[in-house]
Amino acid sequence: MMKMSGRSIFSLVIVIFMIILVINSFEYNSKARLIPLGVGFLVLVMTFLQFLTDTIPSMGRRFSFLREKGMFTQQVNDQPNSESESQESEVRWSQIIKTFIWLIGFTVLLHFTTYLFAVPIFLFLFIWLAGKEKIISALSVAFGMGVSMYVLFELLLGARF
């Protein structure tokens, strides 16, 4: 029975990425594609097996060598999550995705303005709205970081970007 979890989705993403790279390899001359094709194909097969064991629990028993640990493993949480852990995992991922959306917003702001504007604005809004801190605290951190970055990059390092 197939069970899609965060773990199996992550493996699937790597599988898809590797398929794209392997297919692209055939566009290059034989010397250019020799190593990428070899390595890419190997990684594709390995990741596909990993995806199968993550998605179909019974496959894990068949491919037990996939569970070999490195020699210095002390404590590994490599088992598929239980149901309550899955729910916590989904909540966690949603928080992470929200944070990355904020960071994408910062990147867009940075692209159209300068870092001296983008950094304080982002920090203020992010700490206040996403971090749910007080406006004064958010403003203080935003101002402090803005000044610090100006001193570090403009005055001390003379960076121009």
Partner: protein, 498 residues
């Protein structure tokens, strides 16, 4: 090489090198104190800052930071029951117990002395090995460089913590990422997908910033609250008693330093392993092991000596072969390349003074933070009370602007974000970031060595040269080692059963 010893030391102690060393050390101490952050993060953040510096100043700043994080992490481990970095995990066991007994000063003193002396020990071993390394290097050619890189990657996978299979996948994935862009061997542009930005390949700095700084900052932010929950005990009486305890247990200190140095030499195996192995040795070699975990000062001396000695060991493969001995060394390698210094075989022949500068800087940074840490441990530990909702966004900004400062290209910021997301997934699902980074660093060298061997010597070039063949056989053995162990265990269980 020894003719550069005094000039390198003079250069390091002169202005402004000494300023950069102190600054790097203090930053490393700060990052070491904050749990969730450590050597890779501070180096990834400092790397773009060093672009406009002279190479020698940049290296001093970076190695100062790298050398200081271990002791910074021990302060948090001892005072707050939370390891500041993974390489201080074992220090918690006895360190915090000493704090609870009102002996925090003794523990901090012992950690400081062990750290400084452990770093000195590792540096001495490095200094002794490096001149021999020059002769080893001259015996190496393209097949040996290729096999060495392959063996390094195999070692990282086999000796990693966690799933061996996933570590190999991560290493292979890192290799594929290293193939993106212009191929100097064939002149082809690979995997650019029509984007001019990717013609130069995946840049190491934004990738490192994403994998380590962004990933950790995002994780920290999602765990709202302060980083540590224990109240800070600021009484540090007994510091000198702690320092003298290292001399009282000098044999244990020496053995732990040897353990750390050897583990540091093995590529990809980090301070966390050194920390635990040394602690385990201290327990097993003790006449009264039941005292460990209850505030035995030896439980602080052993792991702290080991995790600082490992830095000297990690520099051995980094400087001699250009293969990073640890994650921090992978970042340092990137820094050397960015500043026009090619690590590996030519470094020992062309830039021997750089190697000596690294060694001196490593020792001096530990001395600086040892003194500062002892004096200011209590106050510094209060930083862990700052809420993650403040610290994490600040780190994100420093990280992304650092990536942007590389070339002023928004593409670098996007790469940092992509690798940040990738890094979070890798941590969450047990894929080794170390294997990916080291493969990303080694990929180009591996590919060039491979093609050069084929062009000059043909496929037999890999197997007809004795060193290359030996490295190949070691690699195969290492990859088969887990299966061999399993087969032997299966046979043993079967025999016991009958």
């Amino acid at each position: 090489m020894l003719e550069y010893a005094l000039p390198a030391l003079y250069e390091l102690l002169s202005w402004p090198s000494i300023l950069f060393l102190i600054l790097g050390s203090l930053l490393g101490l700060l990052f070491g104190i904050l749990p969730g952050l450590g050597g890779p993060q501070v180096l990834a953040l400092l790397l773009p800052v060093t672009f406009t510096m002279q190479p020698s100043h940049a290296i001093v700043l970076l190695i100062g930071a790298a050398g200081a994080t271990a002791f910074g992490g021990s302060i948090t481990a001892i005072l707050l029951n939370t390891p500041g970095t993974p390489q201080n995990a074992a220090t918690v066991f006895d360190g915090f117990q000493l704090t609870k007994q009102g002996k925090a000063g003794q523990a901090i003193g012992a950690a400081a002395a062990s750290s400084v002396m452990g770093a000195v020990f590792g540096a001495i071993i490095l200094t002794l090995i490096l001149p021999i390394g020059r002769y080893i290097v001259l015996a190496f050619s393209y097949p040996e460089y290729f096999m060495m890189a392959v063996m390094g990657l195999a070692m990282i996978a086999v000796l990693s913590q966690g799933s061996l299979w996933k570590a190999i996948i991560a290493g292979g994935f890192g290799l594929m990422l290293s193939f993106v862009g212009f191929d100097p061997v064939t002149g082809s542009v690979r995997y650019s997908f029509g984007m001019d930005y990717l013609w130069d390949g995946i840049k190491l700095v934004p990738a490192l910033i994403g994998l380590f700084a962004i990933t950790e900052a995002v994780s920290l932010f999602s765990n709202k609250g302060s980083i540590a929950s224990e109240k800070v005990n600021t009484s540090l009486k007994g510091v000198f008693q702690g320092i003298s305890s290292v001399f009282k247990h000098f044999g244990l200190f020496l053995r732990s330093s040897v353990i750390g140095t050897i583990i540091g030499i093995i590529p990809g195996v980090g301070g966390a392993v050194a920390n635990f192995v040394a602690y385990g040795h201290a327990v097993s070699s003790s006449k009264n092991p039941e005292n460990f975990g209850k505030g035995d000062i030896r439980g602080v001396i052993a792991p702290e000596a080991s995790n600082n000695a490992k830095d000297g060991g990690a520099l051995v493969p980094t400087l001699i072969f250009g293969i990073p001995g640890s994650l921090e060394m992978a970042v340092l390698l990137g820094a050397l390349i960015l500043h026009g210094i090619q690590p590996g075989p030519r470094l020992m022949l062309d830039n021997a003074e750089i190697a000596l500068t690294l060694i001196y800087a490593l020792v001096l940074s530990n001395i600086v933070v040892g003194i500062v840490g002892v004096v200011a441990a209590g106050s510094l530990a209060r930083l862990t009370m700052v809420k993650t909702t403040f610290i994490a966004p600040m780190i994100m900004m420093l990280a992304l602007i650092g990536a942007y400062a590389t070339d002023g290209m928004i593409g670098d910021v996007i790469i940092a974000l992509i690798f940040g997301l990738l890094g979070y997934g890798m941590v969450r699902y047990g894929f080794s970031r170390v294997a990916l980074v080291i493969a990303l660093v080694l990929g180009e060298m591996m590919q060039q060595s491979f093609h050069q061997t084929l062009d000059l010597m043909g496929p037999s070039g890999f197997f007809l040269r004795p060193i290359s063949l030996a490295l190949f056989l070691i690699t195969v053995f290492m990859l088969l080692l887990p299966l061999i162990k399993k087969w032997r265990k299966g046979n043993y269980d079967e025999n016991v059963g009958t």
